[in-house]
Amino acid sequence: MNAPVIRSLVLKDWFLMRRPLAFYLVAAAIALAMCGSGSLLAFEAGAILLITVVISMAIHIVMQTIANERVEKTLAFVMSLPISAMDYTSAKLIANGGLFLVPWAIVTAGAVGLIAFVGDLPNGLIPWAVAVMLELAVSYFFLVGVSLVSESMPWTIVGMVVGNLGFQAFLFYVSNVPVIARQMKGEAIVWNGPIAAILLLEIAAIVALLGLTYWAQSRKRDFI
């Protein structure tokens, strides 16, 4: 592991993404404010906006830091530095993980706080909201893996479509599991049962996606 260069590459991606990230955080804050305004219409519009902001942010990060490096030919510049293909993969996973997870954690904490402390939303929504947010993280790491391994804009777009369809299917499924649907309407915050299994599966999926990405990258013989 070539830690000093990986660190420089991570900081580089953070620097180049600083303005879009600030924009998405402001948009997420507006969405959370709409959710907490007390109006049902504003809540629904805010929730849709919040999910849209997180999905857009995920796509923007991957497009900008991974897919565009090949399209804009900056990958050759990066690979001319003293790094191996696996160092590059590590740098991308760390940079992209941080770029997504930091705002994601802020947005998730904001959503949980909103449900818990603002308005009259049932607290039983919290586990559901966490599962939905975690699913967005699963879709994100899927997209990161597809983009890194394929090194292709068309495949990144396919990954985007598949990830989004998967998220919609998940949203439909998790909202219609009878136990979860019942718990969502109650005041008790229930973490065990089906929701616990879903959360564990989501975390396992993220770990598996990271492992698969590393494995696929380690098998490559041509990197540029």
Partner: protein, 298 residues
């Protein structure tokens, strides 16, 4: 420490529609090698293999005493690589790129970088997307030169530049290379660019090295000989001479190994020598490639 900065032995790489075949190449420390080939000849593939970016299917590659691709991290600490298909980050400034590279390479020489900024007529606060192509190439050269690499690998850096920008970039490069002795591999399809800065030349065609020698040896050895033959006589082929062309009395032949014995050999066939002309590197390259393809040259 070996005498070669770069050593390729029997290197091969197979693609669906292209094969790099049995490439062997030695680049002595301190020399400047021009690597000439047409589009798709295998220049970039060879360079990417020696940079460790592509793994060879066969053969061994050593760069600055590192086995490639396994030793690419150590090797790339001492290689400055600029390629035609390399771009800097468009939204960042030259100054940001300089500090980025300085954070990675302890050898970064800030004083020399400032001098190169002045020599290349660059503005550090300018964003890359606002630069002309020539300025971008100069900025990329600045980023590699200011870290004082032992080996400079330039993969068609002048491709796509207009004649003025090309001359500016080459002039700047010649000026910088004159400062100190560095090992340089300079690939191009433009023989004039290569001729200006190289002391060794290698030709590659269709994935194979077709010739490799000192530039002066090429220029000394290759000659075009014009001669006349008596009316009604026919031209006799002379071993070692290529591309016999002409009609009637006036003829031209290319000689790849011109020596004192060449003209007497021709004269012995009844030819009367009218001129012996030196050849440009481009003419030598074209003749070498053509005759290799036809199997005339070994």
């Amino acid at each position: 420490m070996t005498g070669s900065a770069v050593s390729l032995a029997g290197v091969g790489k197979d693609y669906k529609h292209f094969t790099l075949d049995d490439v062997s190449l030695e680049l002595p420390q301190g020399s400047i090698m021009g690597f000439i080939g047409a589009n798709g000849a295998g220049k970039s593939t060879t360079i990417r293999i020696l940079m460790g970016l592509i793994h060879q299917d066969r053969g061994t590659v050593r760069v600055l005493d590192n086995e490639m691709p396994a030793g690419q991290v150590a090797a790339k600490r001492e290689i400055g690589y600029v390629s035609d298909d390399m771009r800097l980050y468009p939204s960042a400034t030259i100054a940001w790129h300089m500090s980025f590279i300085a954070s990675i390479f302890p050898s970064w020489d800030a004083t020399y970088a400032a001098e190169l900024v002045r020599r290349f007529d660059l503005t550090p606060d300018q964003r890359i997307k606002g630069l002309s192509h020539g300025q971008r190439v100069k900025a990329a050269l600045l980023l590699v030169l200011a870290r004082r690499p032992r080996l400079l690998v330039l993969d068609e850096p002048t491709t796509g530049l207009d004649p003025i920008a090309r001359q500016e970039v080459l002039g700047a490069l010649i000026e910088v290379l004159a400062d100190e002795r560095r090992t340089v591999l300079f690939s191009s399809q433009n023989t004039m660019d290569v001729e200006q800065i190289s002391d060794r030349i290698t030709f590659i065609d269709r994935g194979r090295i077709v010739a490799s020698d000192d530039k002066e040896n090429y220029l000394d050895r290759w000659r075009r000989v014009r001669f006349e033959i008596p009316e009604g006589a026919t031209v006799t082929a002379v071993p070692g001479m290529l591309d016999l062309r002409g009609s009637g009395r006036i003829n031209v032949v290319t000689v790849p190994n011109f020596t004192d014995a060449t003209l007497p050999l021709l004269q012995a066939t009844g030819a009367s020598i009218t001129a012996v002309e030196p050849m440009s590197l481009e003419e030598i390259f074209l003749c070498t490639v053509k005759n290799r393809r036809e199997g005339v040259l070994a």
